[in-house]
Symmetry: C2
Subunit: 168 residues, 2 copies
């Protein structure tokens, strides 16, 4: 990638950081850090996550057609980082991260306990974009912790920070 473009992507941080929970082919939960996430429709309420073809989570969402977008709090920074930097293919990343899972309200994929916001999504379509797949998910339920004002953002120098509208 040209140096100008690398710098451009550094400048447009910080960007919101979420942890995507999913189930693998055997029903085992997995969690992956993701910043390439956005809303994409008002009605129906759709979100999308862009996931690298090589990720273990990719296989799981392709198979089970559902996921949860969890926005973690500053207290969960280290756990969020582990979810973003290791693979769940070999071992239990969620346990290593010290995260506890709780049942979601409408889908089989669990939610991360104490997340600020968790959006339960059912996949309505998938689209290939270069080396990633867009999983378009209808938001069928949300769990919120209104007393938590901050969630994690990914920075230009590979850190996660908790921020709100007043800054970190």
């Amino acid at each position: 990638m040209p140096a100008e473009l690398i710098k451009a992507f550094e400048l447009i941080t910080p960007i919101p950081y979420a942890v995507i929970t999913s189930l693998d082919a055997k029903g085992k939960p997995n969690a992956m850090g993701a910043s390439w996430v956005t809303r994409t429709s008002i009605e129906p309420v759709l979100m999308l996550v862009s996931i690298d073809h090589s990720r273990y989570t990719h296989e799981g969402i392709e198979k089970n057609k559902e996921y949860v977008i969890n926005y973690l709090t500053p207290e969960q920074t280290k756990a969020g980082w582990i979810c973003g930097s290791e693979s769940g293919r070999n071992g239990n990343k969620i346990k290593k991260a010290g995260l506890e899972l709780i049942p979601s309200t409408t889908i089989k994929t669990p939610t991360i306990k104490d997340a600020q916001v968790a959006l339960e999504c059912k996949v309505v379509s998938t689209h290939e974009t270069g080396d990633h797949t867009l999983f378009i998910g209808e938001v069928v339920a949300a769990t919120i912790n209104p007393q938590k004002t901050k969630h994690l953002y990914y920075t230009s120098d590979n850190r996660l920070i908790g921020m709100d509208e007043k800054g970190d």
Copy 2:
């Protein structure tokens, strides 16, 4: 939308805010505020913008297959707000916003002068997602202002604020 979901989307702000420049069918430049924007592939370098079917910009990008994602600075807050709250269908929103356009380096669609970052994109595919269309754009060039450390974010209470990793 259920109250829980409205609150969930409020909690996950602030989110990065960009102004998308495009040309209409007659070649006239237009500018639209957008927060539903993310990267979606490493190689090729792809970005996506999710645009409501009713927007004037939708017609323009569909026709011309290119756009620029401009990240404005805190000095451009008012201009950014005008781009996000009015339509370019009737009148010259860019002039009203007091924005100056400069030629892009590789595509016909112009870049906003003094933006922190401008990403020039050529559309490689489009996908329908509910009431929006995803325009997937290959980033063919970037213009940056490295001395500008902040760009705009959209808040839960309908404001634009300039932020960096140290907060606003």
